[in-house]
């Protein structure tokens, strides 16, 4: 090996060393990242939040990267009693971000640590607030209003919990969530965290309560069904009754008209008779009587006539005359 070779190898090593040094003093930050520069364990300067290429002292400074974006926090569903002692399962979700990476790094180290602290704080705040609130205040919002028509309709369908329905909402869901947010957010800055948003994702009855609610709903539906049926029967009976009434009306009206017609006819006939017979009532009586005899006397009649009757007058007179002439 001669000097030429040595100098070549030395040159190569120098270039490589320079490259490594350059590489160690340059770092890039993504749009979604921020960083704290740590020099031998101690943070140096302000956190770096602008994306792009940056420089640092090589080898002794290191880059601790943190997410700059909004991060999700998802709590486990909690069983919490409301103020009315009703157990509900509350599932909350929150959004937070690392507002001060330096403080964040010092207090909670990383996202895992942050999540654990958030679990403690948020769960406890949610628990406090929920257990001090009535169920209706959690479920409904401030503008809950039930109109007269709605109330009438709901009552018609057999619901009994009018009191619950009419119960005025004093705070409502939004206010409740807001108060949870305010209280939770106040504990965040000491961790270098900004709480962006917290919301109740789900509220459910716990299993035992849910079954009772279902039973109540079923009972209510059955009442409504029963009401429909009896309504139908009632309407049918009403129609049947109406039918019967119409029938009697139609029949009696017909009978009435028939009687009137008959009566008028009888009266008319009687008028015709009296007008005709009035000319000679005595003759009418005579004629009418004569006419009735043939009708009254038939083959089964036995007539007993006195000889003094008009008809037999001559029969006797003649025999008398005969005897007298002898």
């Amino acid at each position: 090996m001669n000097t030429k070779q040595l100098s070549f190898i030395g040159g190569v090593i120098l270039v490589i060393a320079a490259a490594i040094t350059l590489y160690a003093s340059i770092y890039t930050l993504d749009e979604a990242e921020q960083a704290v520069i740590v020099q031998l364990g101690a943070p140096v300067g302000d956190p770096v939040t602008t994306p792009g290429m940056h420089f640092k002292t090589p080898f002794i400074q290191e880059v601790r990267r943190f997410d700059k974006r909004v991060i999700s926090w998802d709590g486990d569903p909690n069983q919490i009693p409301t103020r009315g002692e009703q157990f509900i399962s509350v599932d909350t979700t929150a959004r937070w971000r690392i507002a001060d990476p330096l403080v964040f790094m010092q207090r909670v180290q990383n996202e895992r640590g942050a999540t654990m602290r958030l679990n403690d704080i948020l769960d406890s705040v949610v628990r406090d607030k929920i257990s001090a609130t009535d169920l209706v205040e959690i479920v409904r919002s401030k503008d809950w209003k039930i109109s007269e028509a709605d109330l009438a309709r709901v009552q018609l369908s057999g619901e009994e919990d009018e009191e619950t329905l009419l119960q005025e909402v004093k705070t409502g869901r939004e206010e409740l969530v807001k108060s949870i947010f305010v209280q939770a957010a106040s504990q965040m800055p000491e961790m270098g965290i900004e709480l962006i948003d917290i919301r109740i994702k789900r509220i459910d009855y716990v299993e035992a309560v849910e079954q009772r609610v279902f039973d109540r709903m079923i009972a209510e539906r059955q009442r409504i069904a029963e009401q429909f049926r009896s309504e139908g029967e009632g309407r049918a009976a009403e129609i049947d009754g109406d039918t019967k009434r119409s029938l009697s009306e139609i029949q009696s009206e017909a009978d009435r008209q028939a009687e009137i017609i008959r009566g008028q006819a009888d009266a008319e006939a009687s008028r015709i008779y009296s007008e005709a017979f009035g000319a000679d009532p005595e003759f009418y009586a005579f004629l009418r009587t004569l006419e009735s005899y043939p009708k009254a006397v038939g083959p089964s009649s036995t007539l007993i006539l006195g000889t003094d009757s008009e008809y037999f007058r001559y029969l006797r007179d003649i025999s008398v005359q005969k005897g007298a002439s002898k």
Partner: protein
């Protein structure tokens, strides 16, 4: 380097290398990496943006440009990076069910996990099962990528929360029926507001309520109500049918009764008129010769009566009554004597 001719001794290990051969390949040692570098550079210096996409171009991690669909060039070796975001595509999130397309056939799946998504409390503290779909579009790819770490999860969480707030502020029976559309519209507005608050770069197109039903265990009871409602209609219809059968018949009968009465009236009046006319004629004749006519009429009557009578007894007024001898069994009438 060692350009001296071959010497037999002393033997240097380097002398064994065939330097001519080395020199022959020396160029290649430089050219090959250069070629590789060039290829890599070429490969990493362009990108293609699909028609439904938009590209976010970052230099050393900093956003420097947005690119439309087409072929574009960038600085190679990861100095520039391009991320494609499908901004023109309408994306969809399903709540309470999942659509599965298997072999061109669409089916819907609903597991316990999906049920948990869709079961919620109503304002009257009942439980209801609401399935819905959120359709959205990425309106700002830069924000979509860099504002929130899990934009889809955030969208889902907020959508669930919003839907529950609105349903919790409504009557269950309303959500099942007339307020469906209103619930969808209100939740869209509220969800968009939240998206804007998070600066998520998402535009909500629509929220559509899918199946809104009572919980599974309560469904039979709801069906029973529907049945009962139909039963009610059936009862009423049947009663009306009965009425329609009976009333027209009764009306017909009523007309018959009246017609009969009218018939009677006509007959009665005609009879009266006829009799009156006859009387008038007879009376006219009688008035001309009363005594004779009277006598004649009487005799004519006797003519008619006597032949028809069953038995005739003629008694002298001086004689004792024959009554004990006569069987009066079949006699009905005795003709009174005319005076």
């Amino acid at each position: 380097m060692n350009r001296q001719g071959p010497q037999p001794s002393p033997r240097n290990p380097l002398d064994d290398i065939d330097w001519d051969a080395v020199r022959q390949y020396q160029k290649l040692i430089y050219i090959l990496p250069a070629l590789l570098l060039l290829a890599l550079g070429a490969y990493t210096s362009y990108y293609i943006v699909q028609p439904e996409e938009e590209a976010v171009v970052k230099r050393f991690g900093k956003v420097v440009a947005m690119k439309e669909p087409g072929l574009h060039f960038k600085l190679p070796f990861g100095i520039d990076t391009a991320q494609m975001v499908p901004t023109a595509r309408v994306l969809k999130q399903e709540f309470g069910f999942r659509t599965q397309v298997v072999g061109g056939r669409t089916s819907y799946r609903k597991d316990q996990q999906h049920r948990d998504e869709s079961l919620m409390l109503t304002g009257d503290l009942k439980v209801i099962d609401v399935e819905w779909v959120v359709q959205y579009r990425v309106s700002d790819p830069d924000k979509f990528l860099h504002q929130v770490r899990e934009p889809e999860k955030t969208l889902r969480d907020v959508s669930e929360s919003v839907m529950r707030r609105i349903v919790g502020n409504s009557l269950g029976s309303d959500v099942l029926t007339e307020k469906r559309v209103q619930v969808a519209t209100t939740s869209r507005v509220e969800l968009q507001k939240a998206m804007d608050y998070f600066d998520l770069g998402i535009q909500i197109s629509t929220i559509e309520l899918q199946d809104v039903t009572p919980p599974e265990t309560v469904k039979p009871a709801f069906n029973e109500v529907n049945q009962a409602e139909q039963e009610r209609e059936r009862f009423i219809n049947e009663a009306e049918k009965r009425r329609n059968q009976v009333i027209p018949r009764a009306e017909g009968e009523a007309r018959k009764v009246i017609a009969e009465a009218q018939g009677y009236a006509a007959k009665r009046i005609n009879a009266a008129k006829g009799e009156a006319d006859r009387f008038a004629s007879v009376y006219k004749a009688y008035r001309d010769a009363p005594a004779v006519t009277r006598q004649r009429m009487y005799l004519e009557m006797i003519d008619k009566v006597l032949p028809n009578a069953g038995k005739i007894f003629i008694m002298d007024e001086n004689q004792t009554s024959p009554l004990p001898l006569i069987n009066l069994g079949d006699s009905k009438t005795s003709l009174p004597t005319t005076r």
